[in-house]
Point group: C2
Chain length 323, copies 2
Amino acid sequence: MGSDSAPGPELAAAAQAYGRWGEPLTLTGPRRLLENRVDSSAFEVADAPEILEMTDKPAEAARQKPRSSMAVGMDLLKRGVADAFVTAGNTGGAMATALFKLGRIPGVKRPALGPVFPVRSGSTVVVDIGANVECKPEYLLQFAIMGSIYAELVLNRPNPRVGLLSTGEEEGKGNDLVRQTAPLLKAADLNFIGNLEPKDLYAGMADVVVTDGFTGNVFLKTSEAVAALLVDWLRTEIRASPISAAGGWLARPAFRRVSRLLDPSEYGAVPLLGVDGLVFIGHGRSTDRALVNAIRVAREAVSAGLLQALRQRLAVALAGVAG
Amino acid sequence: MGSDSAPGPELAAAAQAYGRWGEPLTLTGPRRLLENRVDSSAFEVADAPEILEMTDKPAEAARQKPRSSMAVGMDLLKRGVADAFVTAGNTGGAMATALFKLGRIPGVKRPALGPVFPVRSGSTVVVDIGANVECKPEYLLQFAIMGSIYAELVLNRPNPRVGLLSTGEEEGKGNDLVRQTAPLLKAADLNFIGNLEPKDLYAGMADVVVTDGFTGNVFLKTSEAVAALLVDWLRTEIRASPISAAGGWLARPAFRRVSRLLDPSEYGAVPLLGVDGLVFIGHGRSTDRALVNAIRVAREAVSAGLLQALRQRLAVALAGVAG
């Protein structure tokens, strides 16, 4: 019941996922909305009669609506009936419900959002892009550890390079948080390559880039805004004369390939790292294709044993830090 | 002596500025490098035999090299011989020298960098984009006041709309700094329109957007990185087939117009707001055209009486805040 057009995209995604992997998903939502469909062999239903509204306060809703589709989904994870939960619902609601139902992996201070960004030569995980607007150095250290495990297991990057988002590459550049975090990353069992500026991130210099949730959110939203503005300006200028319009028409496939590089629905949903269960949160505007990609990424995380790896390696890493 | 290719671009810019406005500039730098030129009627020379190197520590160099081209230039401002100082030299060095030589306008806590960004419908001043990586709410209030005066006088925006960069438009969204700054902006004699996300900034919703220097710097550098990456991807994809390459060729004027929209050299240099003199800092890679635009903006600031307005209105605004 998450996406803005729910349950349409969710039902279509379930059917496509069944066609692709041959395993029925469990859909959580009001039974009457989900059952008696032509394609109902593609999924099972876990009844969730309550609806989380955009106006619900996330922290309260998690407690007050125990039978929302998010709460029921997280319960399935908790009970081990489901391996991963994918939602295109409200991010704050998903985080609050996950914390309430699943709790944190032992030792984790703050769960974080770690989406995969397209960069010049592949992709990069950026943690955190908005779960924690105020951070301490030790949170960023944990983001680095979790992002590293994610990059290694789900993106298949052995010994992932970890960078710290800053305003300059030189050691000592950045705000207090960056300056206090760098020594922790250096001392940890990580492949820390130092401070990175946004251009280094987009050049693909790191597999994982760590930042506080406020800066990460501004980074994400600035990236989206600039890409949209540029595409818009180009479209306007190309249409301004018949000759350039003809040129634009001939170059359409090139434009389409670039649009696809920028399309968030290609990259699946955003993992919520640090809660004790695999939760992936997609955009409210997720299409069925975006949801199928999210399901694919969730399946990859399950196959790679991401949750077990996070539990085990965090225990080791945090014991090391404590000692 | 500021730009990476100094004094070539500076000499060419001086000649062009003389042709355009009929007034000789004063160039500061080693006399032997600047004199006996064909176009030496276009400028006067204030001898500055010492050179600031990129490796000099800004704060120390300001004191230890009193005859650097920056120090000599700031002295001309201080003595009232010059009305504005334009440099393409090291930003940290320019800020340190300005603070040392000119000091701050009375009441100003932290001078700030406030460049003009191209947005969908015109342009927007963003303060601060890197002078102050750690900020307090009262600094941001001062950035808002200074940015507002700049937008009104230099960009000719009556009653400029002021926004606060954040991770959501709703009141209460953002980090502690944003949440503590919003009430100050609301209470001040400003046309405060609330929190803005990057997409609102690029939509042109505000004339002035306020942020701390760390976030502002990440915003600036992310914008530049995404624009460069997109242009690069488009070029690669367009060249990938002869047909789209032909299309790209036909649409060249459109691409050129968009490149021009993105070109920082169109927007002159960045004003250092809050020091007691008009200082404009350009990019190290500034061309003669960029420097001429910087000189144009500096001339506009002088004609508009920017420095006097900053002194007077800050005195009034800060008295109001203190009361």
